[in-house]
């Protein structure tokens, strides 16, 4: 067995052992291995302390009242300390989103796949999938980009009316979180 240690030269003051590993070599390996395991056991908690703490992990849900959002309007609310976009699409915006051949998209998804039964309610995180800025366009009067959805000012990513990435450096569509309608005018996100 190739033991990889450097003490293979037989020494004159020890019994000849025909190049076989000695029991002392095993002791060396065992001692270094135990020290290695101990070292890793110390490093793991030092790294792990930086992972989200219990209070950050405590999951929460957010209820959104949809009754005051008219077609063509959108609101920003907060979900787990991140912005959440809730938009009531107009029929024209739905038609435009459905018109797109999804094979041409960077992250192919239909509007129906990105909504939960009611195609006019588009609920996404307002976090650009590039480097995390909040895209513009949810509030009226903001630049909605050339695809009529959202425009991220940080690096120029453009999203369409279904919040799908169409142009710029972002790799994915805006993330659709888990949510369900708890009444016709309320959704619970999370």
């Amino acid at each position: 067995m190739a033991s990889g240690n450097t003490l293979e030269v037989p020494r004159q003051d020890e019994p000849h052992h025909d190049g076989e590993p000695r029991r002392r070599d095993f002791l060396n390996i065992a001692a270094v291995a135990a020290a290695g395991v101990g070292g890793i056991a110390i490093v793991v908690p030092l790294i792990n302390q930086m992972n989200p703490s219990a209070d950050v992990l405590a999951q929460s849900t957010t209820d959104v009242d949809l009754s005051k959002i008219e077609a063509g309007q959108g609101i920003v609310t907060s979900f787990r300390k991140q912005p959440l976009f809730v938009r009531n699409l107009t029929p024209a915006e739905i038609a435009e989103a459905d018109k797109v051949d999804i094979k041409t998209l960077r992250d192919p998804e239909t509007l129906a796949q990105r909504t939960r039964g009611q195609k006019n309610w588009l609920i996404t995180l307002g976090v650009c999938t590039h480097l995390g800025c909040i895209p513009q366009g949810i509030t009226s009067g903001e630049d909605r980009g050339q695809f009529g959805g959202y425009f991220c000012p940080c690096h120029g990513s453009q999203y369409d009316t279904a919040a799908r990435i169409r142009k710029g450096p972002a790799p994915k569509n805006l993330f659709v979180p888990e949510y369900k309608f708890t009444s016709p005018t309320t959704v619970t996100v999370g």
Partner: protein
Amino acid sequence: MSFPWAKQYEPKSGFTKWIDERLPLPRFVYGAVGAGYPVPRNLNYFWNFGVLAGAALAIQIVTGIVLAMHYAANGGVAFDSVEHIMRDVNGGWFLRYAHANGASMFFVVVYIHIFRGLFYGSYKAPREMIWLLGVVIFLLMMATAFMGYVLPWGQMSFWGAQVITGFFSAIPVVGDTIRIWLLGGYAPDDAALNRFFSLHYLLPFVIAAVIILHIWALHIPGSNNPTGVDVKGEQDTVPFHPYYTAKDGFGLGVFLFIFAALLFFAPNSLGHPDNYIPANALQTPAHIVPEWYFWPFYAILRAFTVDFIGIPAKLLGVLAMFGSILLLFFLPWLDSSPVRSANYRPLYRIFFWVLVADVLVLGWCGGSPATPLYVIISQISAAYYFAHFLIIIPIISRAERPTPLPNSITEAVLAKKGGTSPAHTALSGSAVPAE
């Protein structure tokens, strides 16, 4: 380097003899930055910037420790605690502006220091290790400056933290895990601010340690000089003290003069006004830009807008941005020309200045909004940046015919003084080489 003619330390008093036999620290200092360190006699003012960088680090550490006595790293009070420093702490406005503008001054002198090395071939054998350690210091500086800028918890602080930790989410498979680990959550919040404070305190001491290695590595071969010609004998050098301590002291005075002018008359000129707005997790500023000293790299990051050979644009941008710095680690082996100084490399000298212009253009693009025109200019400039190091330098270092080198530093100095041959105006980069 301990040249044979270096003066030896001789303790005079009984006390210094007693010290020297037990802990020869004065001997060490004498040999490192005292009269016992011979330095080429022809160093120009571009050789001041190492000392200036050291001074800038010292200013940052001292003002930083003082500011940390009054700053509170918690999202709820961080912004207010900085205003408390500005309004209530004795001289707090001065210390805060000194620290903020000190970062800009630090980067100014380090950028000049880097381009000095590029022009005079200070990265070439036998000084590769000095260069490599210098690039490590540069990376540490950028990490430190980034985390420091987060601490005031203004709009640019928050969104800078969001974007820069977002770089790591571009890494395939493990990216999101790493980002959440860095932030301690899903978006920048108290956990992130708190750890950035701890690390912003730690890193300057790591920088100081690497600077010690940087200087140690420098003292093995000794300083390079504007001719790039090795020291041949005692006549080529003067002792560091008092000749260069005095010259560096003069340079330091000029540096502090400019620093004071910036600090007292235009303290906000290099900052971004949006960082006077408290962090708002629900609104990204329309024109988010990083600090000016990151602009060239930021321009490279956002030059990548389309996926290429299956790699997402986001990952490409991040790889290019980090690659643009990591590339510098390989520079000593990309440039195979045996001639160090660009004063004797007519072709390299042209491309050096094109690179300077290219980096300035990248900086200008990085500070501008991401409109299509700026993106196209960024793409061309970023492509040129990589071409300079990966294509142009390897080719011209083989193809170029250098002009004749002086036989020694002293010969170059005397030729310049006597005016018998065309002058080496090593002070300006556009030197006329000897015939």
